[in-house]
Amino acid sequence: MGKSTSKKIMVGVFVVVGTILLVAALYFIGNKQHLFSKNIELYATFGNVNGLTLGNNVRYSGINVGTVSKIEMIDEGTITIQMLVEDKTSRFIKKDAIASISSDGLVGSMVVNIIPGKDEVAKQVVSGDTIKSYSRIGADDMLSTLNTTNENAALLTSDLLKITNKIIEGKGTLGALVNDTLLAQDIRQFVVELKKTTAGTSTAISQINTIISKINYEESAAAVLLSDTVSANQIKKVFANLEKSSKDINEVTKNLDEYLKEIKSGKGTLNYVTQDEVLIKNIDSTMINIKEAAEKLNENMEALKHNFLFRGYFRKLERQERKEAEKN
């Protein structure tokens, strides 16, 4: 009896353990497929589902939140997929979320990625909602792009080959730079000189620094110049005035210069007057002639006075003069 009971227990344990293992495996598989959680249905429409099959995972921000439960072709080029998404995570998915189909790794199965939208105040999705979709480029498109890239790369390489050949042959500036040994020596010499110059500059700067450091900023004129803003403004004005004055002086000097040049060159009335001796003589003789002419004119006038034709006029003038003299 005892032996039979122990056998019963052993068989019972065996059966229970085996059943538990089976049930546990089924539970874990079902759990992975979100069969035992409360789900909501979401829809998205694509032009091409790139081999998506029923049961493929749905990810939101990289977390598995559901599975693809239905794929239906509505019309030519329009495929609607139904996704079962866990209710507990659906509250994070907003109405402006975008669904895209991508591959899980290079050789993995396809997954639906739900990308969060940018509108933070958008409402959360509810069961039956259709969210926006975004079709990524497929492997074929990628390969065709790669093909173009390859062709371009081939062209680039052939051009590069030509350039490198020219460089090796010593053609062009770059070729000369690479191949010309004299140029290299010159450059080396230049660098050496540059080093020396730099060293000299450095010494000079250090000397200037020493001089500057020796300036007594507290009491010297330099300090006043460097620190007193009122003096600085005044000095500015002085300099401005000085600049203006110097411009004026410059202008005057220029005029004087021109004037003197004119004088020297013999142009102008003054120079003519001062320099021409013939003119002076002419003027002198003219003056003598004028003097003689005036004397003769006086004589003529006297003669006119005594002429019977003009005598009346002159007497009239004398009478008027006398009357005015009496009045005064």
């Binding site: 039979s4 056998k7 019963k8 052993m10 068989v11 065996f14 059966v15 353990v17 085996g18 059943t19 293992l21 089976l22 495996a25 089924l26 874990f28 598989i29 079902g30 759990n31 992975k32 497929q33 099959t53 029923l54 049961g55 050789v107």
Partner: protein, 260 residues
């Protein structure tokens, strides 16, 4: 002409055996649902076939998972796909290798055992004595054994699969620094109901085939002690062949009903 006759005879006997076995199976289905039920004998057989096979199945399963992982690693590493190891191993073991290997081991242990046991009972006329004494030997000996293998083999296969996956996980943990949590997470990520349910249904048929062929060969054993050996031997051969036939049909049917 002689050769043709011999071939014809063998073909006839082959079909006759299949017919016999079908009738034997039909008799089993008639007897299994009719009282009296031999629960005590069923329990004993379950213990013998289930519990006592567990060690063999466990060790085989563990080594199977271990070796399978070790052998697959270099190839997967060449493709840089070591991370696919849990998926690959779990799918292979649960779908195919686990059920078939464990069923073959059970065919060797249980099938030959049943064949030898019933065969020796037949040649020592114990079965005849039971018939004379009024006990139904078919119900007592055959029904309990076939029922026990049908019930126990699926459980043995589930346990064997689990132990094989554990062996694989240990190797992955030691060689590939994959944690047990990650390993089993990936295993259940890869497995679908379409993998585990058909495999379990298939293992029920495997168990039934092992019990049926073993019992048939033993029950109809003849030619004395030589016949016992032959019954035992032919039981294993037939079972092995039948297992692959069932496996093929199961995969075929699974392919229709579950999208693999």
């Amino acid at each position: 002409m002689n050769g043709t006759n011999a071939l014809l005879t063998r073909t006839k006997s082959f079909f006759a055996e299949i017919g016999d076995m079908t009738l034997f199976a039909g008799r089993f289905f008639r007897e299994v649902f009719s009282p009296p039920f031999e629960f005590k004998e069923l329990l004993r057989q379950c213990y013998n076939m289930g519990n006592r096979s567990l060690l063999l199945v466990g060790v085989t399963g563990f080594i199977l998972g271990l070796v399978f992982t070790l052998q697959s690693r270099p190839t997967l590493m060449q493709f840089g796909a070591e991370s696919w190891m849990p998926s690959m191993v779990s799918l292979s073991i649960v779908r195919e290798i686990g059920p078939v290997i464990i069923a073959l081991i059970c065919a060797g242990r249980i099938g030959s055992g049943i064949g030898a046991e019933l065969g020796s009972m037949r040649v020592t006329e114990q079965i005849d004595a039971m018939e004379v004494s009024g006990t139904n030997p078919f119900k007592y000996l055959v029904v309990t054994r076939i029922a026990a293998t049908t019930l126990m083999l699926p459980l043995l296969i589930i346990m064997g699969d689990a132990i094989a996956l554990l062996g694989s996980a240990i190797i992955e943990n030691l060689k590939g620094d994959v944690s047990y949590l990650l390993y089993f997470n990936q295993v259940f990520d890869a497995l679908k109901f379409g993998d585990i349910i058909p495999a379990t249904i298939k293992s029920v048929f495997f168990g039934f085939a092992i019990g049926l062929v073993g019992c048939y060969k033993g029950y109809y054993c003849s030619k004395g002690t030589v016949g016992v050996g032959e019954a035992s031997n032919s039981a294993v051969v037939y079972i092995s062949m039948l297992l692959f036939v069932i496996d093929f049909i199961a995969v075929f049917v699974t392919d229709i009903f579950f999208e693999i």
